[in-house]
Symmetry: C2
Subunit: 121 residues, 2 copies
């Protein structure tokens, strides 16, 4: 598996956890050592595992949370950090996402997620 493939695998694990509404799998996606952050569509910045994981618990517990289909991934690995930029489709609406990963004990773990709506103009 190339480094890019390993990063894409981590990126897929994030969307798989989201769509499975599996909070344990979601927690496993995120970095343990580095301070994490998250910007959900339209939300303010969430910083630190307490805020970030509370948001995921709420999202994954929401019975109306639609599936998120990701695609068009672009991967950029720079040393111990990797940036994935991708599209998301949520309930027919397109979004753009930035997913930053950091290598911790050999595994690519999510450091930051930023997703926002694409306004079709």
């Amino acid at each position: 598996m190339t480094e890019d493939e390993a990063v894409l695998h981590a990126n897929e694990a994030f969307y798989a956890a989201l769509n499975a509404k599996d909070i344990v799998a979601m927690e496993a996606v995120w970095a343990r050592d580095a301070p994490i952050a998250c910007i959900h569509p339209g939300w303010n910045v969430l910083a630190g595992s307490e805020q970030v994981m509370a948001s995921w618990r709420a999202i994954l517990a929401n019975p109306n949370q639609p599936r998120v289909v990701s695609g068009g991934e672009r991967v950029q690995v720079e040393g111990e950090v990797a940036v994935v930029i991708c599209r998301e489709m949520v309930d027919g609406a397109p979004l753009a996402a930035t997913n930053v990963f950091v290598r911790e004990t050999g595994a690519w773990r999510m450091l930051h997620h930023h997703s926002s709506a694409i306004a079709l103009v």
Copy 2:
């Protein structure tokens, strides 16, 4: 100057170039070697210096482009990459931004910018 300060300095140079509507200064902010990307508020992903710089030329040439005031910066340096998460105020509207920098020949240069509106709920 600490590493965090050097990253914040690069982050400030980005907003200074934007507010000065100085395309030469804006080009100097961005990475030369690494493939850059940009997600403006509501826009689709722009990838590569041609697309990214064309967008900045259009934005900086727009006489109605308001000032962007940044604040609340959080810096995370991981080796050769740094992530700045900050707030932006544009024409009274709050946005959240992710700015990723990469170290190139000793200088922190922007690899990716993602900015999106915060919907007040």
